[in-house]
């Protein structure tokens, strides 16, 4: 979800990652098609829409970023609503221009009645302009279906303005269960020190590299740094760093870089192909293929990135940790995830980094109120959950709705998150690509002197871009 979690400008920055998104969509398409049969059953039954039993009629417009197969899935979500209320929903998928398009529409005085945006910053901006309506009185008790982390992100001045309809988890480590087994690891690491120990075990075995590190232009390294920083220092410190209230030259950052260097190993000894190999072949999703190849055997055990990695895993891989997982990509290979581990005893173990789409009410009328109420209901999320490629922050969506153990684990982590933060790099308006490049510099040379020098550079860049 690298490309959707962002501020207005960050969104455009993801042009480079268009290919990533395309491949993700390709997979979602497959999943959507294979599960279309189950969908038709859901649609014909029609989930209970408690508050909208009588036909309202009329029409309502809604915008979101989803296009192509995600658009089809969302339309499937809307279908039962239209059927039971008689309201015609006009959906427009704005792609990665969602924030910009909505800004322009609000400024032009013709916004849609309901809109979903991929970042909480836009919600705050619109709320401060009184362009969106408070929702507490409309959705009522449904607001309790979301954990406090999510409610806080959808609130402005202690008033609830949004409903997190779709969520994504970047707190994941993907691993090949067969490689873990071959390396003699029987359970996934639950603490940071266990992760480092498991890396050593895998390296000890000699056949597989512990990690295939995605480097690309630096954003995967930034994501890795962010995960680690969050687990070590918690959401409060994370948000301070995101807004540059905390300096990059602070000990918390330096410490995180030091831990990161341990994960990578000296000179990249834990990485596939060493540091050189990681830099040469670490483009995304190329790096995913080393742990989950389409042919032959894997060469690495783990890949760090968000839940969107699923879309880059070849379709013949079974999600989960079945008994018959094979190393051979042409037999019955598997993929699975575990949560990015925190140091033992860390208070921040269930703090989560991720992304999501929040629904907001821009024009209040019976139709739009019914729609936002519907989007807050578990039954709406349930439909897409069944289709795959989706996770909900709504606690009332049963985990059994998810088609596989990997997405189930995702949803569980998302709904139980104590604190939830958005990707920090995407908040660095004006210097995000520089931050990525800086991450690569630290990765290649984690010596104290270089870290100090790059941190100083980052502070300068942040100050120039953010004005403080």
């Amino acid at each position: 979800m690298k490309e959707i979690i962002t501020t207005k400008r960050g969104v455009m920055s993801k042009n480079l990652l268009g290919r990533v998104k395309a491949s993700r969509k390709a997979l979602i398409a497959t999943v959507a098609l294979t599960t279309m049969a189950s969908l038709s059953i859901i649609v014909s039954n029609g989930p209970a829409l408690a508050a909208t039993s009588k036909k309202i009629g009329g029409s309502v417009s809604i915008w979101a970023e989803w296009t192509s197969t995600e658009q089809q899935a969302f339309k499937a979500v809307l279908q039962p609503f239209e059927d039971s209320t008689g309201i015609t929903v006009h959906y427009t998928g704005k792609g990665s221009n969602m924030d910009t398009a909505l800004d322009a529409a609000v400024a032009g005085g013709a916004p849609p009645a309901v809109a979903l945006v991929p970042d909480p910053g836009t919600l705050d901006t619109l709320a401060s302009k009184h362009a969106i309506q408070p929702l507490s009185s409309i959705i009522g008790t449904a607001s309790k279906n979301y954990g406090s982390a999510w409610s806080n992100l959808a609130s402005y001045n202690h008033k609830l303005y949004g409903v997190w309809f779709k969520a994504a988890n970047k707190n994941t480590v993907y691993y090949n269960p067969a490689v873990f087994k071959a390396a003699g690891i029987t359970s996934t690491p639950t603490s940071w020190s266990k992760l480092l120990a498991d890396e050593a075990t895998i390296a000890h075995g000699g056949t597989y590299a512990p990690v295939s590190l995605c480097t690309d232009i630096g954003w995967p390294v930034a994501d890795l740094f962010q995960n680690l920083f969050l687990k070590l220092n918690g959401a409060t410190a994370y948000n301070q760093l995101a807004t540059h209230q905390m300096k990059w030259s602070s000990p918390d950052v330096t410490n995180t870089f030091a831990e990161l260097a341990q994960l990578v190993g000296s000179g990249g000894s834990n990485l596939l192909g060493g540091m050189k190999g990681a830099l040469a072949d670490g483009s995304f999703p190329n790096c995913v293929a080393s742990a989950f190849p389409t042919k032959g055997s894997p060469t690495a055990a783990m890949v760090f990135e968000g839940d969107f990695v699923t879309s880059s895993v070849p379709t013949n891989y079974t999600p989960g940790n079945g008994k018959s997982c094979t190393l051979k990509a042409t037999a019955t290979p598997c993929f699975n995830t575990f949560n990015f581990p925190a140091p033992t005893g860390s208070a921040y173990a269930s703090d989560l980094q991720g992304a999501g789409d929040v629904a907001m009410l821009l024009k209040s009328n019976p139709q739009s109120r019914a729609l936002i109420k519907y989007l807050a209901s578990p039954s709406a999320a349930d439909i897409w959950a069944n289709l795959g490629g989706f996770a909900s922050a709504n606690k009332k969506v049963p985990l059994s709705s998810y088609p596989d153990p990997v997405s189930r684990a995702d949803a569980k982590a998302l709904t139980s998150a104590k604190a939830f933060v958005f990707s920090l790099d995407d908040l660095q308006v004006g210097w995000e690509p520089k931050l990525w490049a800086d991450m690569l510099k630290v990765l290649q040379n984690p010596s104290a002197s270089n870290v100090t020098s790059v941190e100083a550079l980052m502070d300068t860049q942040a100050t120039t871009a953010l004005g403080h």
Partner: protein, 472 residues
């Protein structure tokens, strides 16, 4: 102006030329020119003016900031890196492409099938630079199985130092000592030596790890068998001390472990001299028979672990100049990333044909009598080229050279497509910076416009000079 001005408009009068008659006579021409003029105004003149205007505004193009963006251009490491890379390109590329173009043009004059040969040389210009860049990205790939350059390097390197049966993975910084787990330690000169001493009649077991199962498979490694004592001899086993079922067991043989075949060993006496040598069998077992009484160590020779060739990271940012100890700004100004070299080579491949065509045309137009005179005077080929052809071709050569200077000042697509993500930053140029700052990431149209204006100013003199040359 005076008495000439009458009721009849005068054709030659400047004042009258703006009159109805002028329009009547020229409206057809104007009508035909209009689309072109409007087009030019819309896509050349207006954007140029707008860019210059933007360069004085902040990142959202709303607030006037004066020369601030221009100051940033010269104080931002990324843009300084771009400047430096542009300078490298301008210094290296035009010269070599002109030189190679000249050589090819001169040589193709003398061969059969010249047309076919020229067609092949010219072909890369026809390809999309993106396609060429992707091809060259593969050619320079780090993995010798993919990149032909590294494959050649590997072949040559293997002649001089063939990798051992158990090559160390030097890319991850593996050392011989890191392989030792049981009764083994790093010895002199990259060898491994048994920790405990052994007497004739005794046995030695040495456990190693970090051996890839692929290597074991290739060597046909079998289940290790504990060595049997032999009279007046030393028997032993070297095995891969890593078990999937018991990964933490590093002291005894487990049934799913493997012996290490083909290891070259020597028996070292207490004085440190080698008294016998042998090779392990498929189960990793070995024996030294008829050993004189004394205390011995078993040594695994360094040649077993001879490092396999590691590709040159042609597409990486390691600098050809030693800059690692300098600060960030000095690094961006002084480093010469290896990828610049790889990209320049690729770009020469693309543009050599263009240079050849222009120079070839110049050659065809040369006065043959002068060349014949040189021949009659006894000048050899090289002298003719150096003293006659090149001076006479000088105008064409300079046009090619300057065109190539303009070309590489704007170099963009080959970098975007050939540099892997991690090298995009170190390999950036002004044009790529404009794209990155202006259209991706945290969009800063002001800064991007300032860079564009500077790039424009750099290109204009070369362009004007070229226009003048071409005209006359």
């Amino acid at each position: 102006m005076t008495s000439i001005t009458t009721e009849e408009p005068n054709v030659t009068s400047p004042k009258a030329s703006r009159g109805r008659g002028w329009w009547r006579r020229n409206w057809v021409s104007l009508a035909f020119l209009a689309p072109g003029i409007i087009w030019l105004l819309a896509i050349v003149v207006y954007p140029t003016i707008a860019t210059i205007r933007f360069s004085f505004f902040d990142e959202s193009a709303t607030k006037f900031v004066g020369l601030h963006n221009y100051a940033s251009v010269f104080s931002t490491d990324e843009i300084l890196t771009a400047f430096k890379n542009n300078i490298i390109w301008v210094l290296v590329f035009p010269f070599f492409v002109t030189f190679i173009g000249l050589m090819v043009a001169v040589l193709t004059e003398r061969i059969r099938w010249a047309t076919a040969f020229k067609a092949i040389i010219v072909m890369p210009i026809v390809f999309s630079t993106t396609a060429s860049a992707l091809v060259w990205r593969t050619i320079f790939d780090l993995d010798p199985h993919i990149g032909v350059v590294n494959a050649i390097e590997q072949t040559v390197s293997d002649w001089f130092s063939a990798p051992g049966a158990y090559p160390l993975n030097s890319s991850t910084g593996e050392t011989v000592a890191s392989l030792a787990t049981f009764n083994a330690k790093g010895g002199p000169g990259g060898t491994l030596v048994s920790s405990s001493a052994v007497q004739p009649g005794g046995t030695v077991m040495m456990g190693l790890t970090r051996i890839s199962s692929v290597t074991l498979q290739t060597l046909g490694a079998k289940t290790p068998v504990a060595p049997h004592e032999m009279a007046a001899g030393i028997a032993g086993l070297v095995w891969n001390d890593f078990s999937t079922s018991q990964p933490s067991n590093t002291t005894s043989i487990v049934s799913d472990e493997h012996g290490l075949p083909n290891l070259r060993l020597s028996l070292v006496s207490s004085k440190g001299s080698s008294v016998a040598s042998t090779v392990t069998d498929a189960s990793g077992d070995f024996s030294f028979s008829h050993v004189a009484p004394g205390s011995y160590h078993v040594q695994i020779l360094a040649s077993n672990f001879q490092i396999a060739f590691v590709g040159t990271f042609w597409l990486g940012s390691p600098s050809l100049t030693p800059v690692s100890s300098l600060n960030q700004t000095a690094q961006s100004l002084l480093s010469v990333p290896l990828i610049d070299l790889a990209m320049i080579i690729s770009y020469i491949w693309i543009w050599a044909g263009f240079a050849m065509v222009l120079i070839g045309a110049g050659l065809a137009a040369l006065n043959r009598e002068v060349l014949e005179a040189a021949e009659i005077d006894g000048a050899n080929e090289w002298q003719t080229l150096r003293r006659v052809t090149i001076p006479m071709l000088a105008p064409v050569l300079t046009v090619v050279f300057v065109t190539m200077v303009i070309n590489v000042l704007k170099v963009f697509d080959i970098i975007l497509n050939m540099a892997p993500g991690s090298s995009q930053g170190p390999a950036t140029t002004l044009a790529l910076t404009i794209y990155n700052d202006g259209f991706t990431g945290g969009i800063h149209s002001g800064l991007a416009s300032a860079v564009a204006v500077i790039l424009f100013l750099l290109v204009v003199p070369a362009m004007l000079w070229n226009l003048k040359k071409i005209k006359g």
